[in-house]
């Protein structure tokens, strides 16, 4: 109904995106800078640079929403893509939530939306440039939230695999590379900055410092949330391709979400779990319809509620 209203009234999705994005400002303003890649490199005190983030993060989120908007405008979403939308948003919301950074919820959603837009566009037109958008989003995201590296990696694998199925292995590898490269480059760049700041001119010291920098970037250990996101994304990408059928796929996908959330059962996880499962089931059910609008709107609302809850209740 909401979607129909939007469509009939032609409420500009961009405006909605902007309004919701502005809502992220508060979260960003309260964001602990020291938990970010930038913060870990520069040892910035809390609050430093929040102005920059306040500017940047809403843009990122708005871009994500615009990508969803674009996705909606694309014709002929198939079952796989619709399931991917549902799975991606659920998984990323989960990952964002469990990583306990308020910003992460928004950031992961942004990444997922970019990735989904990339996949949908790619599948429809074999147009890989959407990878550019996804890659650049991933770049910005990983600078803000180091854990996103794992989600980016998962998305790269998933999308690469999907591409490989239709266009061959080299195409899949190449696509994954395109998606991952900005993140790798950003990480290297940050490592370089750290090494440079501490450089004494001796190569051995420099190498040691680079290792130290990598450690400080906290890229080495994926958390449970990231593993869950990877697993769900993988399952969502591959299961429909098997002879599982629609309902069995959705059950398996949901089970993975449940399992992942249970494994990381901690404060607040119950609410998250219920919401995610409900959202996923609803999304799967709705995904059989021709329009992807209801699914996207519902999932978006779900994620928004989660973010607000986390921000105002748990932080």
């Amino acid at each position: 109904m909401i979607a129909t209203y939007f469509q009939q009234k032609r409420v500009p999705f961009r405006l909605i995106a902007l309004v919701v994005a502005l809502g992220a400002v508060e979260a960003v303003a309260r964001f602990d800078f020291n938990r970010t890649l930038v913060g870990s490199v520069f040892d910035l005190p809390l609050g430093t640079g929040s102005l920059l983030l306040e500017t940047f993060s809403p843009v990122l989120v708005a871009a994500a929403l615009l990508s969803i908007d674009r996705l909606c405008r694309l014709r002929g979403l198939n079952l796989l893509q619709r399931i991917l939308v549902a799975a991606a948003l659920s998984a990323t919301a989960l990952a964002g939530y469990l990583s306990t950074d308020p910003l992460a919820v928004w950031a992961f959603v942004a990444l997922a939306a970019m990735g989904v837009a990339a996949l949908a566009k790619f599948s429809l037109e074999l147009e890989e440039i959407s990878g550019l958008g996804a890659g650049l989003a991933a770049l910005g995201l990983c600078v803000l939230v180091p854990q996103a590296v794992w989600v980016v990696g998962a998305w790269a694998v998933v999308l690469g695999a999907v591409v490989a199925r239709s266009r061959g292995l080299s195409a899949g590898v190449s696509f994954a590379l395109v998606l991952c490269f900005p993140v790798v480059a950003a990480a290297l760049g940050m490592v370089g900055v750290v090494a440079h700041d501490r450089g004494t001119g001796e190569a051995s010291v420099l190498l040691g410092q680079m290792v130290d920098a990598v450690t400080r970037l906290r890229l080495g250990t994926p958390g449970l949330a990231e593993i869950a996101a990877v697993a769900l994304a993988l399952a969502a990408a591959w299961l429909p391709g098997r002879s599982f059928g629609y309902f069995r796929s959705s059950f398996v996908g949901t089970a993975i979400v449940v399992g992942a959330a249970l494994a990381g059962f901690e404060l607040g996880a119950v609410g998250l779990l219920a919401s995610t499962v409900a959202g996923t089931v609803v999304a799967f059910a709705l995904s059989s319809r021709k329009s992807a609008w209801p699914m996207i709107v519902l999932l978006y609302l779900q994620v928004s509620i989660l973010a607000i809850l986390q921000l105002h209740v748990f932080v």
Binding site: G131, V178, A195, H196
Partner: protein
């Protein structure tokens, strides 16, 4: 018209040169294309050109003359312009005491004969010759005058737009003052000045990169096939001239002819002018030996003036009769339907669109690392950058080949500047400056990538030198240009044409600073901020270009090449070396054309 048709057809039939079935078929083609029956027979290889003209001459009661054996009469000496003669289809070839002998490539009726006599100012005797012989004869007879025309007419007509004089006195003064101020500042405060320079260079570098990223992102929004106008019927297709400048290309002649023969276009609406330098006997012999089809004509490019490709093209422009015109290089392999696609695009485009640039890519990309990198670069440039510039309505520097023009508009623009060694890029900018537009099309011409480093550096230095020339030419009146084209397009021109050589020049110093600042920062007396700005800028710039190249390789379907984009910084190093060679050449030999060898793939 029908009588004429039948007369030629019947004459050929009577001479036993065609069968009645062939006549019927040709008449059908004529109905479809509305072209001359004789052209249809010749260009569809039904009748040899010479046989046709023999029959025509006999039927009309005039003698057939072999102009290759005739003495050349310079039309300029008779007050005749060879450009007009080429269009009119006749030329004087013998001056007698009482009459002047004129060879015509068509039947001349009474009124035309009178017109010829009025032009020449004397009685004429008309002979018949093939259009092939006529064109070659005119190029030979017009000789030095034609060479002057091709070499200097542009500079005479548009001195402000010609690179004959690369920099104006005012520009030289500005450059000298800048150099002196910089030198003085370096002597006074070396490290601070160097820091400022690093900052400036970094900003230019970054601005250039950002512009490229923006243009590529815009290009990414356009898919090649987003807009593909319906292909025209044969009857509606315009006449097309294909210019192929050749110099020491004997080795690729057979492949060239095969590629051009593969073009899918009604042959009677197609003419292919092979522009061969007069001293290049080897190439000419190879062409003759390869027995080119009737659509191809060899035109000798007379010596004199700068020995450059644009000069040869200007000679070709004199003789081109097509409504549309395209340039191909010797090693080009255009997609067969390219001309049809372009004709369709022109047909639905506004008149201000005077040029359509096809994409270029390489058929020998797998030969070695250099050709692979070259392929990635071209994929980025033609598939993203130019698409983006087109999308944003910004000036487009044309690629060296596969640029299709409205012939009349090209003549209005003055053709190519023979003193500019990237005459194509210059022409694209000039078109924009004069209010015209260039579009790009999703059809590809495959070329031969340079596979040898030395040759690559030479080729690249010519291109960079040409960009420097173009930048100087079009910044002679910067305010005027900015007012005319708008500030956005002016900035785009600066970032695209002027910033590119600067960025390449900056690569080596930035590399040096980058490496030294990491390993032995203490020897640098630069302020910390300058090092950070330079390094971050350099790193971000290279990363962006790597990424764009990677995506471009992917879009082209060169999946095996995408990962090689990470070697872009090394590839840029070769560009940087070339840019210093270009700078030196700009000063020492500004109009020297470094010939790129082909056929070594």
């Amino acid at each position: 018209m029908h009588t004429r048709r039948n007369r030629i057809g019947e004459s050929l039939l009577g001479a036993g040169l065609i069968t009645s079935e062939q006549l019927e078929e040709a008449l059908k083609v004529q109905d479809r294309t509305r072209e001359r029956l004789g052209d249809i027979f010749v260009k569809r290889k039904v009748v040899a050109r010479l046989d046709l003209y023999r029959v025509l001459a006999k039927a009309s009661g005039v003698s057939l003359i072999d102009l290759t054996l005739a003495n050349a009469i310079d039309p300029w000496a008779l007050g005749l312009d060879p450009r007009e003669l080429a269009a009119l289809g006749w030329a004087p070839f013998d001056v007698g005491s009482s009459r002047i002998a004129v060879a015509s490539s068509h039947l001349v009726d009474g009124s035309e004969r009178q017109s010829i006599e009025e032009r020449i100012g004397a009685p004429v005797e008309v002979f018949m010759t093939t259009e092939w012989d006529l064109v070659q004869y005119l190029a030979r007879a017009a000789g030095s005058g034609l060479s002057d025309l091709a070499s200097f007419e542009f500079a005479n007509r548009y001195p402000d737009l010609s690179a004959a004089e690369v920099t104006t006195p005012r520009q030289r003064l500005v450059l000298i003052v800048c150099a002196l101020v910089t030198a003085a500042a370096l002597v006074t405060s070396f490290w601070n000045t160097l820091a400022l320079l690093v900052m400036l260079v970094s900003l230019v570098f970054l601005a250039g990169i950002l512009f490229k990223v923006s243009a590529a992102a815009a290009g990414a929004r356009v898919h090649f096939d987003t807009f593909a106008p319906a292909i025209l019927d044969d009857a509606d297709l315009p006449r097309y001239s294909v210019l192929v400048p050749l110099y020491h290309e004997a080795i690729v002649v057979e492949e060239l002819i095969a590629s051009l023969e593969a073009i899918d276009y009604p042959p009677e609406k197609l003419e292919i002018l092979l522009l061969v330098e007069e001293d290049d006997v080897e190439t000419r012999t190879a062409i003759v030996r390869a027995r080119p089809p009737a659509t191809m004509v060899i035109i000798g490019v007379p010596p004199g003036g700068p020995a450059t490709k644009p000069k040869a093209c200007n000679v070709g422009l004199v003789f081109a009769t097509g409504d549309l015109l395209v340039i191909y290089d010797a090693e080009d392999r255009p997609e067969p339907d390219q001309l049809r696609k372009v004709a369709a695009l022109f047909n639905v485009s506004e008149q201000e669109v005077i040029c359509v640039q096809a994409a270029l890519n390489y058929h020998n990309r797998s030969r070695n690392l250099l050709t692979r990198m070259f392929t990635l670069e071209y994929s980025l440039w033609f598939d993203y950058m130019l698409e983006g510039l087109d999308f944003l309505h910004l000036p487009i520097p044309l690629g060296g080949t596969s640029n299709h023009f409205r012939t009349g508009k090209l003549r209005e623009l003055g053709g190519w500047d023979p003193f500019n060694v990237t005459e194509d890029a210059d022409l694209g900018i000039r078109a924009a400056a004069l209010g015209y537009r260039v579009k790009v099309i999703g059809s590809t011409t495959f070329e031969e990538a340079n596979s040898k480093l030395g040759s690559f550096v030479k080729q690249r230095s010519r291109w960079i030198k040409g960009y420097m020339q173009t930048a100087f030419v079009h910044t002679r009146h910067p305010v005027r240009l900015a007012r005319k084209v708008g500030i956005l397009r002016f900035l785009a021109f600066l970032l695209l044409v002027a910033a590119t050589p600067l960025a390449f020049l900056a690569v080596i110093p930035l590399y040096a600073i980058f490496i030294v600042s990491i390993f032995t920062p203490s020897i640098l007396g630069l302020p910390h901020w300058a090092i950070v700005v330079g390094d971050v800028d350099f790193f971000a710039g290279n990363t962006a270009m790597i990424y764009l190249s990677m995506v471009a390789g992917y879009r082209r379907g060169h999946f095996d090449l995408s990962w090689l984009a990470v070697l872009n910084p090394i590839y840029w190093l070769a560009h940087s070396v070339a840019s210093y060679r270009a700078l030196w050449q700009l000063i020492a030999r500004p109009h020297y054309w470094d010939k790129t060898p082909h056929g070594i793939a």
